[in-house]
Amino acid sequence: MPSLKDVKAKIGGVKKTRQITKAMNMVAASRLRGAQLRMEAFRPYAGKFGEVLSNLAARAGEDASPLLVPRAEVKTVHVVLCTSDRGLCGGFNANLMNKAEDFAVERKAAGQEVKFTCFGKKGRDWARNNGFERVTDHLGIVGTRFPYTVASKTGQSLIDGFLAGKWDEVYVLFSRFESMARQKATLQQILPVPPIEIQEEEGGEFMAEHICEPSAEELMAKLLPMSVYIQVYSGLLETSTSEHAARMQAMDNATKACNDMLDELTLVYNKARQAAITKELMDIVGGAEALKG
């Protein structure tokens, strides 16, 4: 039976841990709200953009831009890996890295070289420890209120590298925010731009006879880089939101675990206390009996 003092110290410790996890939970909750708002603010832009792009694609044809053309031979693959800077968020980063690892192994088996651009410290450390070539690292972005220019600059350098033949395919690996309880590591190809789905016109009011200035092909060529930025931005936003959601969940679980531990420890403490009292009583009774003797 542990001593009373030990148990008491342990209870104090667990209580303090609980306070920290509770605070982290609340911080994550408020950041999550911010991140979700930003995701919502971005949605109209992305939605509208997709609409216009798909209509243009229907008119401009397949070879309007070199960004659309798949390479015959893929030698180098570039992955933009979005992870968080900080831990304590459950399996969040591990999920992303597992996915990255699977992908890298598969591509290496096919004789391709895999390079990474890492957003987030966790991903960078992982890529470094596994000996992958990193093109650039960006720390302090995921999970904060980063500006759109982060995405457009990254997107532009991805495009430049693609056009210069430094890499032949580009993917974004990010954590899709499906719900509070579900964040899924998702791999999405961004270059060459996958064939754009042509949506059926709804009600026929849209784009049928638009005048395009400059031509539809030139417009397409201008819009495609923007669509790459959008994908990078949305990947980063989703990852940020997921990170906070994952941390909230993890901290909630930790707080619950603390509560369970406290219950158990309190039980142990009370038992020990009672045992001590019983023992003292026995001593007193024993002593009295002996005197009566």
């Binding site: 832009y45 216009v52 457009s152 049928a208 395009c212 417009l219 201008k222 923007m226 931005y233």
Partner: protein, 141 residues
């Protein structure tokens, strides 16, 4: 005239403008263009510059636009821009500073100066300032 073009200016970070307007004048990449109600469907890219519109009460308003494109339909104009700021949201000090920086960079340009970037930020700073200054001219009139 009825106020009946619905203008929406959307950037990745927020919805900048969403309101009924009478006329819209936007900086197209092939030249500035004006839109009145009943305009034919039209799609174009935009350059860095000023977008003007008359709101429902007939007041001229100015918005800074940084690249993007515009979709014009008979009763609505949608602008998707990489960034956009209404006149009152422009940070004058910052714009002035970045104008100076860009000018310096261009003045002391060497072979490794990213010329395009410098020109780009010069243009943005100039456009921001010209939007911000349109306030003073409008008041004087």
């Amino acid at each position: 005239m009825a106020a009946d073009i619905f203008l929406e200016i959307v950037t990745p970070e927020k919805l900048v403008v969403s309101e009924e307007t009478q006329t819209v004048v936007a900086p197209g990449s092939e030249g500035e263009f004006g839109v009145l109600p009943g305009h034919t469907p039209f799609l174009t890219t935009l350059k860095v510059g000023t977008l003007r519109y008359k709101d429902a009460s007939g007041t001229e308003r100015y918005v800074f636009i940084n690249q993007g494109f515009a979709e014009v339909l008979p009763d609505r104009v949608t602008i998707l821009a990489q960034s956009g700021e209404r006149r009152r949201d422009i940070d004058l000090e910052r714009a002035k500073e970045s104008l100076e920086r860009a000018q310096q960079r261009l003045a002391s340009a060497t072979a490794d100066t990213d010329y395009e970037r410098a020109v780009g930020s010069l243009l943005r700073a100039q456009a921001r300032l010209s939007v911000a200054e349109s306030r003073t001219t409008a008041r004087m009139q």
